[in-house]
Structure formats: C-alpha cells, structure tokens
C-alpha cells in the first residue's frame, strides 16, 4: 500500500546515545589540567532502535511519561540532534516548534516573521502577501514593531504557530505547543492543523493532553524509556499509556 514517494518522514533503526561527563570540561585549560585523570563518560541511551515512517498528510502523536525520549525523538526527526545509529529522512521543509520557538528575542515581530518565513522557503514577495494574515491570526496587530523579548510566552507561541501555519512548512513538529496558548488560541490552532491535512501537510504532535492526541492523530506512538512500545491505533496507545501510568502510581 505504501509508496515511497508518499513518505514524509522515514525513521530507520534510530539509536541515540548521549555521552555525558559529570564534569563537563569545555575549555582547553580544563582539558589540559585533567589530561591524566579524565572523568568517566556515562552513556545515556535515550532512544533505542526506533523504526517507523509517517506518510504525507498524516498527523501522528507521540505520548509517554517524562524522560521517555519523546522530545529527543522529535529533535532527531527534525535533524537537530544527530542520530548515533540509523538515519532519518525528511521530504520537504520542516518547522519545529517547542517552548523555545525559533525566533530571536532581539528582533521585532515583523523581522521574525520575515526571517522565519524565509527560512521556510518563502520569497520576500510571498511573505509581503501573507504578512497581515500572519499577524492577524496571531492577534498581534498592535505589536508588529515590538521586539518579541517583551512578549509573553503565549504571544511568542502564537506568532510562531501562525508563521508556520501560513508559511506552510511541509512537516510541522509540535512539541507541547498546546501547553501555553489560551483556550481560544488552541481552538484556532487546532482548526489550522485540521486544515493542514487537507493541504497534505504532515504533523507530528507531542503532547500530554490525551484529548488533543485522541481527537487529531491518526496514529500514535507510545514511548517508554527510549523504546517505542507501540505505533498505530490511537486508542490502544493511549490505553497502554494510561494503564502503565496508573500501575506505577499504585504500589502493590
């Protein structure tokens, strides 16, 4: 059934190991002084043999407890982290959104819109056309020329989401973006995500809100301790997660 040209994200036997030193020697001086007694390196396996693919236009969810590797997986998928083994193949432009959105706090909303829009592959003339729409959707008409460092977290998030939605990144990674917006904005955002499917965009949602996941994701991955225990039917994945969480909460 699956055609290779329909695949937006292909994750092939992905492993990610972080090499952590307790003393982080980060200068030449420190390296020099500790040349004969280096601190041991700890290997933290954050992701173990993750293997799946996402088709164009699909909306998938990733759930799991804290430290289960959700965000690491998303960062690997977005090429922010290099996989230790395996590979990730993306088709199209992408935008990653998490709580630290990709914007410069020194720039104004206008400048950030242009830089981000351009980074997503739009020409300046195209950004000129959608500019008012982007600002309108984010409800920031009065703050176009304000540096975003004076914005609230929610305002920044709205702007980032609005740019991503209007500039049309082919693949959108939404890592806990529903955690900050107010109810009104979340409703708007969700409508955009719904519309994106029609446009054939691919969305990956990481969220602790099972309601959002269940409502909008066609497939859900359940992560636990760096393993992907399940990938498929949303209801099954959510049940697994909820059962797992409650069995841990009640000691025998």
């Amino acid at each position: 059934m699956e055609h290779t040209h329909d695949i937006a994200i292909e994750v092939f036997r992905l492993h990610k190991t972080f090499n952590i030193r307790d003393d982080n020697y980060n200068t030449i001086k420190q390296r020099f002084f500790h040349i004969f007694n280096p601190t041991p390196i700890r290997h933290l396996q954050a992701l173990k043999d993750i293997h799946f693919s996402v088709r164009k236009g699909e909306c998938i969810g990733i759930i799991g407890g804290n430290g289960s590797g959700k965000s690491t997986l998303v960062k690997c998928m977005a090429n922010v982290y290099q996989p230790s083994q395996g590979y990730v193949k993306l088709t199209g432009t992408m935008m990653l959104m998490n709580l630290g959105v990709g914007m410069s706090h020194e720039l104004t909303a206008r400048e950030n819109t242009y830089v981000s829009g351009s980074a997503l592959g739009l020409k300046i003339a195209q950004i000129d056309k959608i500019f008012d729409e982007v600002i309108g959707f984010a409800e920031l008409e009065e703050f176009v020329n304000t540096k975003i460092k004076y914005f609230s977290t929610g305002m920044v998030q709205r702007l980032a989401f609005s740019i991503a939605a209007h500039a049309g990144a082919d693949i959108m990674f939404l890592d806990e973006v529903f955690a900050v917006g107010d109810q009104k904005f979340i409703e708007k955002a969700v409508r955009v995500i719904e519309r994106s499917w029609i446009d054939g965009r691919t969305t990956v949602i990481v969220s602790h809100s099972m309601a959002v996941i269940e409502k909008y994701c066609q497939k859900v991955a359940y992560m636990k301790k760096g393993n992907m225990l399940f990938y498929g039917d949303p209801r099954t994945a959510i049940d697994m997660y909820v059962n797992d969480a409650s069995s841990h909460a009640q000691p025998e």
Binding site: T27, K29, N79, T93, L96, G102, S104, Y114, V115, S118
Partner: protein
C-alpha cells in the same frame, strides 16, 4: 538528502530563496548592530577614526615615522584589519547566539555565517567610502588599478569566513577559544602592516607576508589605492589560495562538527 556537489552549488543560486534570505539576514544583523542606539551608523565610523587619531599622535607626532600620507595609510590598514577581526572575534559563539535560526527549520548553517560576513561588509563599505572621500582632499588620485580591489576584498572575505568557521566550530569543544583568539588577534595586529609600512618588516621578518595572509591583502590594497601601482601578483595569488584553503578547512569542520552543535551548546 544525497545531493551531488553541483546540485548543492546550483541550489544556492537557482530555484531557491537562499540569496534573498542571506541578504535579508545581513540587513537585519546590520540594523541590530548599528541602529539600536541613537548614534546609529556614526559608531561604525567612530572606531576607525578614533584609532587613526591615536596612531597619528603616537607614530607621526611622537615617533616621527616617515610614511607619507600617514592618516589614509593607517585608516586603510585599520578598516581592513577590523573587518577581519570583527568577522572572526564576533562570530566565535555564532552557533550559540544564532541557534534559533538553524534549530527550528532546515536552514543551512553556512547561510548564517555568510549573512554575518556580509553584514560586516556593509559596515566596511561605509568606511571605505569615507576613505575615498578623504582622498579628495589629499594628493592621492585613484586610477584604473582600483579594478583589482574587488579581488582583494573577496580574498579578505573568504579568509574571514574560513577563520570564522574554524573558530566557531572549535568553540563547541573549547569555550575559551574566544579568549585565546582575542590574544592571538592582538598579536596578529602587530604582525600585520597596519600601522607600519610592509617594508619595515622585510628587514626583521623576511617572509612575514607569506605566513600572515592579512599582511599581503593590506599591502596590496595600499599599493593599488595609494601608490597607483599594480599589485604584487605573486602575493595576491598566494593570498587567494591561502584564503581558500582556510575556507575549505572551515567547511570541513562545519560539516563534521556542526551537526553536533545543538547537543554541545
């Protein structure tokens, strides 16, 4: 993913908005640097002018150095050197300060470097204009030798980009590279013919201009702009090859160390 080199190079010029984006980021970078305060662009000119004043007093008035047209001579040396220094010292933490650009979209990191190099170049051009204006008041007349200026400036840009790439990628593993480079840069200043004519060095360090690539660029720029002579061809070619070598080392480092940037910082 597996793009051939020619596809990669083509991608920078055709069918994409890369060049447009680099120019956009360069303009914003320039604005951030100079328009965040009331003095604005004046600051871009203040630094070389005040440097010239200091060196004029020290070398022309106190030490009575015999170089003719000493003010434009020093000014040209300083703006060339400052361009290199700004591009390298200023960009060491670039992968940290500009991470918002490459972490959230699939933007090529090289574009970020190019935009900063270009933004500094805008500042350099303002200074160069001041130099040309100044030339109208003194017996220096420009002639056709100015056509070699773009080659020399291109060499300077390639060299600066190369060093910027090398230093900023080393920064991922050694944070004190910025302090070390600060010291090396001031050594480089005195080992470049910025305030002395290059001939002074020939007696002390005979092959200096073949070790220090900046030296040849500064000497040749003065030759074509102030002496109206042809540049030292051998030195010009050597500097260009030298600069390209550093650029290739820098790009290799970016390709190998750069992908770890988000993790290391």
């Amino acid at each position: 993913m597996q793009l051939s080199l020619s596809d990669y190079v083509k991608g920078w010029f055709k069918h994409t908005n890369k060049s447009e984006r680099i120019w956009l980021m360069a303009k914003i970078e320039f604005k951030l640097r100079y328009y965040e305060n009331k003095m604005g662009l004046l600051w871009a000119l203040m630094k070389p002018i005040s440097d010239v004043a200091v060196y004029y007093v020290a070398f022309k008035i106190i030490m009575k150095i015999g170089t003719p047209n000493y003010v434009p001579f020093v000014f040209l040396g300083i703006i060339l050197f400052n361009y290199f220094a700004e591009c390298t010292v200023g960009t060491i933490p670039i992968l940290q300060t500009k991470r918002y650009l490459y972490e959230y979209t699939n933007m090529d990191k090289l574009e970020i470097y190019l935009s900063v190099i270009l933004s500094n170049f805008i500042g350099f051009i303002f200074n160069l204009v001041i130099f040309f204006v100044f030339c109208q008041f003194i017996p220096i007349r420009l002639n056709f030798h100015i056509v070699f200026l773009p080659v020399l400036l291109l060499t300077l840009m390639i060299l600066s980009l190369g060093f910027s790439l090398i230093l900023s990628n080393l920064y991922l593993f050694a944070k004190d590279i910025s302090q070390i480079w600060g010291i090396l840069c001031s050594v480089l200043f005195w080992l470049s013919p910025v305030i002395y004519p290059v001939e002074k060095f020939h007696t002390s360090f005979p092959s200096l201009e073949y070790i220090n690539p900046l030296s040849g660029i500064i000497a040749n720029t003065r030759t074509i702009l102030m002496e109206n002579k042809s540049p030292d061809w051998q030195l010009m070619g050597f500097d260009l090859v030298y600069a390209c070598f550093f650029l290739l080392v820098g790009i290799a480092l970016l390709k190998n160390l750069g992908p770890n940037a988000s993790e290391k910082l």
